[in-house]
Amino acid sequence: MKPMFIRPKGLTSVNQRYCPGCGHGIVHRLIGELLVEMDVREKTVGIAPVGCSVFADEYFNCDMIQVPHGRACAVATGIKRARPECFVFSYQGDGDLAAIGTAETIHAAARNENISVIFINNAIYGMTGGQLAPTTLPGMKSTTSVKGRDIAKQGYPIKVVELINALDGPIYLERTTVHTPKDIIKTKKALKTAFNYQLQNKGFSLIEVLSMCPTGWGVTPVQAKKWINDVMMKYYPVGEVRNRGKEEKK
């Protein structure tokens, strides 16, 4: 009998500690599958951030480094420049990439570092208990904006792929979501495109993935998926923002 659903070899056998309904496990699986399908696992150095996915160094079945909060793109730069033969990806949340690590992210993109950045946007700080994130939507409640994000006081969320699209450097920028099976498949395709560009030495890719955080949002997993569809995607439209590789082919 052929098993239809197995843990990909790109993930370790460690049980992930993510909450029920969280999107991290889905994206981890997609990456784990691609590491094997694209035959890069054995030359990969992956980067775990600070945040809920800090334990990613236990989950991905490849060489891993856990780095200071926000500095993943700088560490990735160091790894890739020192060992260009390695496949390098960073996996970061919104606090990590879009708040404390904004400078490292933008400058790695501007330099067009040949790395793949996976950016999980769940609009909240999950690990620390649901505080306001740089991506928290206007009016959205968090433990540090209990009446909802007040634009007058806390300003606007950061649209990361659009922000980075202002730079000449990157090869590929796309925003996806993982709240439906169809979108999960699209996310995998986007990740594969990004990984391929790195293998072709084309440079910096960033995939922003809208991801559920039922715990941080105070909703059920089903409500969380609905919220992405009804609210989050309106503020953060999914789709390809830039694909220089495709333009080159034309």
Partner: protein, 355 residues
């Protein structure tokens, strides 16, 4: 004998780093060490290394973290305010047991301070600098020749014990121009033996993880104790110093780097006036050469600590000599440099025959 070449201190560092087999530099401009990245950008290009001018010192130290984790010999250079920014990364690097080299061409502080030579980063350098229990190996050169030679020593020690190494220079040493001798055979980085912690991709082996955290109860404590074994081995094995005219000295001047250069001249002036003075120059600031200084203090009547600060190393001096003799201080903070006359006068003014 190898050929001599007249060279700036800041250029001597670069030649020393490259001769030591380092092919990865990341750094952010800051005075008074700008000649390091400028010259490095040319030399790394010539030797096929990596030169990265970064968006910040935060990025620089983290680029080092990544590159060093793959087994590369890596270095950055900065000056005091920039080194402060690097402390977060250094703590993670120390916590991950990764060897790197950081050169601090110290300037006056605190805050933006000034761009004059100073030694006021002694505490920061010798007490770890960032959060958590750790030390960095700290070497203090006092000539262009040592600026050339210490990077190799620093890499070897950092790799042997898997701790970050710091070379503590100052703006004067960076700008000094002296003959240097290319005193050792350049290291070919390709010949560095692979280590069992390098992240290179897991082909043909189990995957490896570099990290500084462990949340399992008791595990981090265990890890810290194990790391402490290496710290204790460093304290035991790696104390370095230079003692000049200490054998008959009634007063021993303790000074490092530029202060030691000035003190040596001040001691000569005092000797001409009949003061039996000697110089004890710590070369490793951490580990502090406590054993040798304690032995010398047994023979001396007074100790004079000279620093370009409000007095930081003096605490290590007092700890080292176990209150055997009085310890006096002459300091110049905020970018001040002591003069030879000041030191001579101070030596003459010290009470004699206290012992």
């Amino acid at each position: 004998m190898a050929a001599k070449e007249l060279m700036y201190g800041n250029h001597a560092i670069v030649e020393g780093v490259i001769a030591a087999g380092c092919r990865f530099f990341a750094g952010y401009p800051i005075t008074p060490q700008n000649e390091v990245p400028e010259y490095m950008s040319i030399r790394m290009n010539e030797v096929g290394g990596v030169f990265l001018q970064t968006e910040s010192e935060l990025a620089a130290i983290n680029m080092l973290f990544g590159a060093a984790a793959t087994g590369a010999r890596v270095m950055t250079s900065s000056s005091s305010p920039g080194i402060s920014l690097m402390q977060e990364g250094l703590s993670y690097i120390a916590g991950s047991d990764i060897p790197v080299l950081v050169v601090n061409v110290v300037r006056g502080g605190p805050g933006l301070g000034n761009i004059a030579p100073a030694q006021s980063d002694y505490f920061q350098s010798t007490r770890g600098g960032g959060h958590g229990d750790y030390y960095t190996i700290v070497l203090a050169p006092n000539s262009a020749q040592e600026l050339f030679e210490f990077p190799k020593l620093a890499f070897e020690l950092a790799e042997k014990y898997r701790v970050p190494a710091v070379i503590l220079a100052d703006g004067l040493l960076g700008q000094i121009m002296e003959p240097i001798v290319f005193s050792f055979k350049p290291v070919d980085p390709k010949n560095l033996p692979p280590q069992d912690w390098w992240l290179t991709g897991c082909q043909g082996r189990e995957r490896r993880v570099v990290r500084s955290y462990d949340l399992k109860p008791g595990k981090l404590e265990e890890w810290n104790w194990r790391r402490n074994e290496r710290f204790q081995a460093i304290i035991k094995n790696e104390q370095r110093h230079e003692a000049i005219q200490c054998d008959d000295a009634e007063v021993v001047v303790v000074a490092y780097g530029t202060s030691a250069r000035v003190s040596a001249a001040g001691i000569k002036m005092a000797r001409d006036k009949g003061i039996k003075a000697g110089l004890f120059r710590p070369i490793s600031l951490w580990p502090f050469p406590a054993v040798a200084l304690n032995a010398i203090a047994k023979r001396a009547k007074n100790i004079l600590v000279v620093e370009m600060s409000l007095g930081q190393m003096i605490e290590d001096v007092k700890l080292a000599i176990e209150c055997r003799v009085p310890v006096y201080f002459h300091g110049r903070p905020g970018g001040g440099i002591p003069t030879t006359q000041e030191i001579c006068d101070k030596l003459i003014s010290l009470p004699r025959g206290a012992k």
